[in-house]
Symmetry: C2
């Protein structure tokens, strides 16, 4: 054990540009549709929600988009992030595989989310935006955007899924500490929230509902507020590509190249951020790295959903995109990986799965926590429940390599730490954690309500 463990990049190696996979997509992009007319949206419609600079990134075909210097200056607070060889895990598994991981939990809020929160706050500030609205599930996105808004002096209004608001108070307090205002969703702030509460005062909420409220709050503000989304959209995904670009440089330092790369997928942003720069090399340089997207068996859009047009939110206010979906009215079971509880998937990730460039696997909650314990007792870091999904498949791959006697190079993205999720670990350790079966009936029902796009 005298070889190198940790590969650090100096801040001068921070990427100068984000990578936009639209430039290399092997299939033509599908239009984004207006939720009312189901016709292709005009920039005007999007301009109610987003500043023009982000809309242009959303539809850009440029391969590289320069990162503004003020954004790079903030990134330097924690980026480049560490890249480690998991030597102690390799020994614990007794595998000939080399296992690497990129650690995004090194950010101040403990996840990859600030990679896009910071540029979104910056571009809004540049466009004169005084206030933003957003939604958050477990709170990773809300806390990241709250930090970014504190840095750039923008007011922020967060709609947090009511169940998480009460069950995960620490993330809520974190959001408040950065100075944002937070409401449990459904709330009385919006027409949609009031309608839901009139129907059921104790409605627990969902991510789809919280998105609807945040969109409504911005869209009806008469221009006073814009809206910000933490995943799914192309401009979000491309901001995250700093992860994979750094990992490519760090693999060079390690003098290796991955045979297989793995990320967990909810809306797709940490997965895309880590893997797209490698997929770029697969598509344009003849590399043949296997790319695996790991989703929860309880919310398996890629492995059980339909690849079709659907709404991004429950109330049908967000744009309609072509993606793998379980139906916009589907509310995923209450797994602890709150960041993976979404009915849809990023259109770019969906298209690449459909075209065979990404493989998708679904894993069960109990298996992910078993993998997490193996990892944390070897490597120390307690992973977020979302990240445990990637770890589970990385360990599977390492054990398969042991079985076949192959030295495979495996890498995964450790998207965040689990210091806010110890309640989930307690349930697991004390045998109280449930495994959810695939909710086939609820999905079948939800898939009855897809928009009629001809």
């Amino acid at each position: 054990m005298t070889e190198q463990t940790k590969f650090l990049l100096d801040e001068s190696k921070l990427p100068q540009a984000w990578y936009n996979i639209n430039a290399d997509m092997p299939v033509p992009p599908q239009p984004v549709l207006h939720p009312g007319t189901l016709e292709p949206v005009t920039p005007d419609f999007l301009a109610v929600l987003f500043p023009m600079s982000l809309i242009l990134q959303e539809i850009s075909a440029e391969r590289y988009i320069e990162i503004p210097e003020p954004v790079r200056e903030v990134y330097k607070l924690w980026r480049p992030t560490p890249f480690l060889r998991a030597r102690r895990l390799e020994m614990a598994l007794d595998t000939p595989a080399h296992i690497y991981y990129k650690y995004e939990g090194a950010s101040p809020v403990g996840s990859h989310k600030p990679n896009t929160a910071v540029p979104q706050a910056f571009y809004n500030k540049e466009a004169g935006t005084k206030a933003l609205t957003t939604e958050t599930g477990a709170g990773q996105w809300g806390s990241a955007l709250a930090m970014a808004c504190a840095f750039f002096g923008i007011d922020l209004e967060v709609y947090m899924v009511k169940e998480s608001y009460h069950q995960k108070p620490y993330r809520r307090i974190m959001i408040e500490s950065y100075g944002a205002t937070i409401y449990p969703s459904p709330s009385n702030n919006t027409m949609y929230g009031r309608a839901l509460l009139a129907d059921n005062a104790d409605a627990p909420g969902s991510l789809g509902i919280a998105i609807s409220e945040a969109v409504e709050a911005a869209a009806t503000s008469g221009g006073a507020k814009k809206y910000s989304l933490g995943s799914v959209l192309n401009h979000v995904l491309l901001h995250q590509t700093v992860i994979g670009q750094e990992a490519l440089l760090q693999f060079e330092m390690a003098d290796e190249y991955p045979d297989v790369i793995i990320g967990c997928t909810g809306g797709g942003s940490n997965f895309a951020g880590f893997t797209f720069p490698f997929i770029h090399k697969n598509l344009t340089e003849g590399k043949q790295t296997q790319v695996i997207a790991v989703e929860p068996a309880a919310s398996p859009s890629l492995t059980k959903g339909i690849y079709t047009f659907d709404y991004g939110d429950t109330a049908q206010m967000a744009p309609v995109v072509k993606m793998h979906t379980l139906g916009h009215t589907f509310i995923p079971p209450g797994i602890h990986a709150g960041g993976l509880r979404y009915h849809g998937m990023s259109p770019q990730v969906s298209a690449l799965v459909d075209a065979g460039h990404i493989e998708a696997r679904a894993v069960k909650q109990l298996d992910t926590f078993a993998a997490a314990l193996t990892f944390l007792r070897s490597e120390g870091i307690i992973p977020a429940p979302e990240s445990t999904h990637a770890i589970k498949v990385a360990i599977d791959e390492a054990l398969a390599a042991k079985e076949s006697g192959q030295k495979r190079v495996i890498a995964f993205n450790l998207s965040g730490h689990g210091h806010f999720d110890m309640g989930a670990y307690e349930s697991y350790l004390h045998g109280r954690l449930e495994d959810y079966e695939y909710p086939a009936e609820a999905v079948a029902e939800a898939l009855q309500h897809l928009p009629d796009v001809s």
Copy 2:
């Protein structure tokens, strides 16, 4: 803002040796006394609790003690830690001062504690120890030692102050996740614990009591268990000097040298780890860096205590040392900085304060949280309540520099993140956080019970 923000060291620059300030102490060391006889202890007495390698480090006069390779290999999971210039904080304060901080929250458990937990587990493993006992207050030390014991395959029994055990469940679960067993203290496991519970079944416990229980559990195990302490003792302090040694190299990268360095002090370990390598240069190379130890006004051993011999624990089972003490029966008020709630202080830190090489300041809880908000809204990282004490004085110094128009170079140790302490932030944000006055009467009473050392 184009100058460097973050100074990273490659793992090849990880220190090869720990620095032992006993070699440079300007005053002769005071003997460690047996708690029963109040005569100087023999190694035999200490050998019941500690492996000989750690006892030899405790009394060593060697300036440098080589770090074993297996310990360095584990350190590389997160060390060297980042060193940052707080440019955004400087701008927020509009100060000509340059503010730097060393970030120990980058460890897997979020604090500096693994720096000594790992070598203590390693030396115990080498000596054949199968099981360790320890105490923990808020849980930073317990989680660090639990991780280290998981790495080296040692069983661990943690006595956690009962009030924290119930109020801070996340740290408790973290300790369990690494595989350790944890008991609320006072417990029924020890004679001392049973006696306290017989007196008051709802006794909330204290750090001094938990130390007594952990010491008793080891001392009465017939050699089956050793004991491990997370602060105060010299071998603990010297393990922490990796912090300051790295910071010295990182100051070279920044091409600056500090005018003033600041750390928070409870038992003294993070403070000593950060400052002793700089004090070495003050003592031996004519440097004149001002060194400030910051303690809570509610538990002010250095600024209000007596420099004399006292017991390290409540039940008078731990060795008696010469230190600044508020009396071993004093139980500090319930401030959120649980790691600073201790009646005594490291003998080395105490002697250096007494000899005028370290300046001590006491600060109030509300002021530390106000400073924390200023910091986190500029720099992103949410500091642990302990670390907020150092930040408060760093900001005071930066504002004094602004007042006097001096460009001072200020550095502090950010000993950990506050992701487990958001409850304290909630109380502060909602105006429910108390400020504790200096508990003069309780201290006066406790100081009646000092041992009679002639």
